[in-house]
């Protein structure tokens, strides 16, 4: 009975497998360090777009604060990498702290002596923060545009904090760990194929997990909440509980994005907590199609690719160009690029479905 190929689950899975396989084989054909690093960055940003698609496209929660999880994880990862470089005996504190007149390593930094602990903190803190923040918002039944305002305000608060706590975060300058991330004694060169593959593996694993989740009954209920939260509530579900869970999962995905980003960029500054990043992520998801994880990934790669390769003049006014793209998408492709594909496939119907359509049309008449 399934009519449109776009809605065929097997076809959807085939598309995902194809996409990730295509991304995975890139280094075999083009082992160009700069290109691989560039694509690894896009992959990290694509994870951020996937988190937006999950929480906004499926969950109906327009979060402009996905950058909170991204930024917190980015700082966590940078701190982990920085401490891998420090030596407990000869060089126990990062140099920027010395210039800020700190004489001992702050308590906040102590756990990052241990790489595994550092990585756990990097992913756990943003996720836990999203759980707490989610409980606060959704228990109070904050919805719609007010979610956008609250997440935006929270993002701004974290941004100023990162900016102002100079002795701990190096403020505006940010933290640039001198060495690449080292995992089990093996340094991961950010310009190498392994670093690229790690990012692609993260992207693939998170996307597939999210996709499976969305096909479960949980996913169906989350989408039902997007359509009519009150109705779901009166079907006996605790709506706030579901919203907190989906918000926290999106926070975790955004945290993974921040981790991968710093691994391949080797630098963090308050810009990762800037509003422009979080808003851009919403635009990427919208361009590709917010109601499709696949679309969000395509959107992230496409928009970032364009941004990297447009001339210097357009670079100056990029945010304006991005705004124009967003308006154009909202007006002409409300379901993004994949929505366009859906519409095309709509016409490629399987023949035997047609009698059914005309039958119900007759009954209506």
């Amino acid at each position: 009975m399934a009519v449109n190929l776009y809605h065929n689950r097997r076809a959807q899975w085939a598309a995902y497998v194809l996409l990730f396989a295509a991304l995975a084989v890139v280094p075999i054909f083009y082992n160009e360090p700069f290109l691989l690093n560039q694509l690894a960055r896009y992959a990290a940003l694509a994870m951020l777009a996937v988190s937006v698609s999950l929480v906004w496209g499926y969950g109906g929660i327009l979060s402009l604060g996905q950058g909170i999880a991204f930024g917190l994880a980015a700082y966590g990862m940078a701190m982990t990498m920085q401490m891998q470089f420090q030596d407990p005996l000869t060089d126990p504190i990062p140099s920027f702290m010395l210039t800020n007149e700190l004489e001992t390593l702050p308590l906040l930094w102590q756990p990052f002596w241990s790489t595994p602990l550092g990585l756990i903190i990097t992913l756990a803190v943003p996720t836990l923060f999203f759980i707490g923040f989610g409980i606060m918002m959704f228990q109070a039944r904050v919805a719609g545009v007010f979610v956008a305002i609250m997440t935006l305000a929270m993002l701004a608060a974290w941004y100023s904090m990162a900016y102002d706590m100079q002795p701990f975060t190096a403020g505006f300058n940010g933290i640039s760990p001198p060495m690449p991330f080292e995992f089990w004694g093996v340094p991961i060169d950010p310009y190498s194929a392994p670093a690229y593959w790690i990012c692609i593996a993260f992207l693939a694993a998170l996307t597939i997990a999210a996709k499976i989740l969305l096909q479960s009954k949980f996913g169906m209920i989350v989408q039902a909440i997007r359509d009519d939260a009150e109705r779901v509530r009166f079907l006996g579900y605790n709506v706030a509980y579901y919203q907190v869970v989906v918000f926290a999962i999106s926070g975790f995905i955004a945290a993974c994005a921040g981790l991968c980003w710093v691994m391949v960029v080797q630098y963090v500054s308050p810009t990762s907590l800037e509003l422009s990043l979080s808003v851009s992520a919403v635009v990427w998801a919208a361009v590709g199609g917010r109601m499709s994880l696949f679309g969000a990934i395509i959107g992230a790669f496409l928009v970032n690719g364009i941004q990297s390769y447009v001339g210097d003049e357009l670079q100056q006014v990029w945010m304006i160009a991005l705004g124009a793209i967003f308006i154009a998408v909202v007006l002409f492709l409300p379901r993004g690029l994949v929505g366009f594909v859906e519409r095309i496939l709509e016409n490629v119907r399987i023949g035997r479905a047609l009698p059914n359509v005309s039958k119900s049309a007759k009954e209506l008449a």
Binding site: S216, R231, Y237, Y242, N356
Partner: protein, 248 residues
């Protein structure tokens, strides 16, 4: 007959405006009760107070002998009270099948439902329901494209999927054609007995078709209660609601 729902001296006011003013209602198991009254009589507010959508200002609501008025909406639903809204509420982006699938479910926790993929859990019940609401050949259609009548039936089906012992139906035939109303009355008559229903309705021919006993509300109070023939003769009912010429 033991009362399934016992509402006593229910009150609701917004500031100084009293909407429900000492309303009492007792509905027995298996009964179909119609709630009538002019606009603003407080019918929908009463439904909201019973279902926990709004908080009462005073009085008690006993369901199966338990005071449910301090519970939250989803807890009240889990006790066995289903609610259909005045403006039909369905999940417009989901198919008819998925709408019913969401409505059906013994486990309501998010983590339990993350591991639920099989659609078989509800299948028998699903087929019965689709037959009852007559959307058999519309299962794979997105709910957003259904006609108004079909949307109403789908929502009734969704509420029934949970097999509630008490059903609150707020104007189920609003906006329906005569033919659709007839079909709805058939659905309701099929439900009577096995389920207990409270129906808010304006359409008198529909009420005549389904009701055992009707309760008439006026200005937040119970004005009269009895069989429909008695109500049609009742002078005060005629005055406030039915008009001096009688029932149309």
């Amino acid at each position: 007959m033991t009362a399934l729902l016992e509402v006593t001296d229910l009150r609701k006011s917004y500031g100084s405006t009293v909407v429900v003013d000492g309303f009492s209602l007792s509905v027995g198991k298996g009964e179909l009760r119609c709630l009538l009254g002019p606009n603003g009589a407080g019918k929908t507010t009463c439904m909201d107070l019973i279902a926990g959508r709004q908080r009462k200002s005073g009085g008690t609501v006993l369901f199966n002998g338990e005071d449910i008025s301090s519970l939250s909406e989803h807890q009240i639903v889990r006790r066995g009270i289903g609610r259909k809204f005045q403006v039909p509420a369905v999940f417009r982006e989901l198919t008819v099948r998925d709408n019913l699938e969401v409505a059906f479910g013994r486990s309501k926790g998010p983590f339990r439902n993350m591991t639920q993929f099989g659609r078989s859990a509800g299948i028998r019940r699903f087929d019965e329901m689709v037959g009852l609401i007559g959307l058999g050949d519309r299962q794979d259609v997105v709910a957003g494209v259904l006609s108004h009548g079909e949307t109403q039936w789908l929502e009734i089906g969704m509420v029934l999927m949970q097999d509630p012992s008490l059903l609150l139906m707020d104007e189920p035939t609003a906006g329906m054609t005569e033919k659709e109303t007839l079909k709805t009355s058939q659905i309701f008559n099929a439900l009577k007995g096995a389920h207990t229903l409270i129906v808010v309705e304006h359409d008198m021919s529909f009420v005549r078709e389904i009701a055992d006993i009707i309760t008439v509300m006026h200005q937040g109070k119970r004005l009269a209660e009895g069989r429909i023939a008695d109500m049609e003769k009742n002078a005060s009912v005629r005055e406030v609601y039915l008009g001096t010429e009688g029932i149309h």
